[in-house]
Amino acid sequence: MTVHFINEIENLTLLLLEVTSKVEHAVQQAIQATFSHDVPLAQKIIDADDEIDATEILIEEECLKILALYQPVAGDLRKVITILKVNNEIERVGDLAVNIAERVFDMVSYGENMVEKLDFEEMTGKACGMLKKSLDSLTYRDTAIAAEVISLDDEVDKLHHDAYLFVREKMLQHPNQSGYYLDCLTISRCLERIADIATNISEDVIYMEQGIIVRHLHEGGTK
């Protein structure tokens, strides 16, 4: 029975890692699409989300099956619960990639030259870096990487705040281009959410490995 359980968990982990790599790729492509105003690429990301959603359901059903059939406890229980939670987080990252891609359709209407662009490069690098590291911490069950991700969240929050100030200033300067800047703010917000999700995943990994719930512990209860 234990052998079956271990096999089931291994298969489930592989499935989760497969979908996380797809989601990671989708976020990077979505940002790329906003840089290059690439509508076909944006559409491709939106279309691909159905597959991510279907995998989320599949993983959840497998987790429920494992809980019902094996009634795991201790480390095994924490592992299944973590997969269940991370699965949900990953699907939300997929949705955020779609949200970013959807902005491209509006952004292209402003053309290439008429606006002062918001540079997302640093924020994208940090948010995607956090996401990648959080997934690495899950793959390698490495709580040190997870703790590092949690400590990085503030930097992305600050960049999002900077983006907000930039957008506010530009909307006052160029009211006729406020739609474009609102798109930028939405993208910034999505990247900030991705960083939050990376933090959540890292917290889940720490729970899985150490059995300690670290949510709301850092920074005096706020993220």
């Binding site: 406890v73 924490r78 300690i212």
Partner: protein, 251 residues
């Protein structure tokens, strides 16, 4: 929460073979403590020390202290009959006496108390109600206890144990011979009974231990490897051996 029972440096020997080694275990009052561990690890032996039932066999001895309300019950001056009234025991296989349902429950009353017929009847009814059996047997009190189903027989044994008004109930795999429905009834009953009694239960069923107990002690090769709240043991045990056992990696 005050301690009802406490083992201190408890050792146990079958002849020259030691099977319990320096066990220390606090057992809280009116809680269910599950005793888990692989076969032959000393769980049942530990239970058998608590009411000195081991003394019925030759060449078995306990050393150390087993405190019941602070009194070491292993001392020779302790009245064993009174101890066993106070610390009741339920076994894996239901053990009704070959007599009527009524007489099964009345037996300890006759042994320990001097009661009128009316008082005896009331106490039997009370015990059968306490064991959630009254409604099923009230019309067949004169039927043999052996004619009841397995689950009913086990509840009859629980009624017989609680009729003597003990403070502690020891249960040695009380549901391992029962089907899931009868098991569920016994589990519900145990949770009800802990309002009045301190319960120690040996079980091989990890889910059962997780479901019904407040505290869990893990025995391995005669040693209590870990004990603590059931929530802690079943979500994040401190000892690797405990984790391996409860997740089915061995045992």
């Amino acid at each position: 929460m005050p301690l009802k029972l406490e083992a201190k440096n408890l050792n146990f020997f079958y002849g020259n073979e030691q099977v319990l080694f320096n066990n220390n275990l606090p057992v809280e009052e009116k809680k269910i403590t599950a005793v888990i561990g692989p076969s032959g690890c000393g769980k049942s032996t530990f239970l058998r020390v608590c009411n000195r039932i081991f003394e019925l066999y030759r060449n078995q001895r306990a050393e150390g202290e087993l405190l019941l309300d602070g009194v070491n019950v292993l001392l020779p001056e302790v009245d064993v009959l009174e101890l066993r009234r106070n610390v009741g025991m339920i076994f894996q296989k239901p053990t009704p006496f070959p007599m009527s349902v009524f007489d099964n429950v009345a037996y300890p009353l006759k042994l320990h108390f001097k009661l009128s017929r009316r008082e005896t009847f009331d106490r039997v009814e009370q015990a059968l109600r306490g064991a959630s059996l009254w409604d099923e047997v009230k019309d067949k009190l004169k039927t043999s206890g052996l004619a009841l189903s397995g689950g009913q027989q086990q509840r009859l044994c629980i009624a017989r144990a609680i009729a003597a008004e003990p403070e502690v109930l020891l249960m040695d795999e009380p549901t391992s011979a029962l089907d899931p429905l009868a098991t569920s009834k016994i589990e519900e009953l145990m949770v009800e009974l802990k309002k009045r009694f301190t319960i120690m239960v040996v079980t091989h069923n990890m889910q059962q231990a997780a479901r019904i107990s407040d505290a869990t002690a893990f025995f391995y090769k005669g040693v209590i490897v870990e004990h603590g709240t059931t929530t802690k043991i079943f979500t994040n045990p401190a000892n690797r051996k405990t984790e391996e056992y409860i997740t089915g990696r061995f045992g």
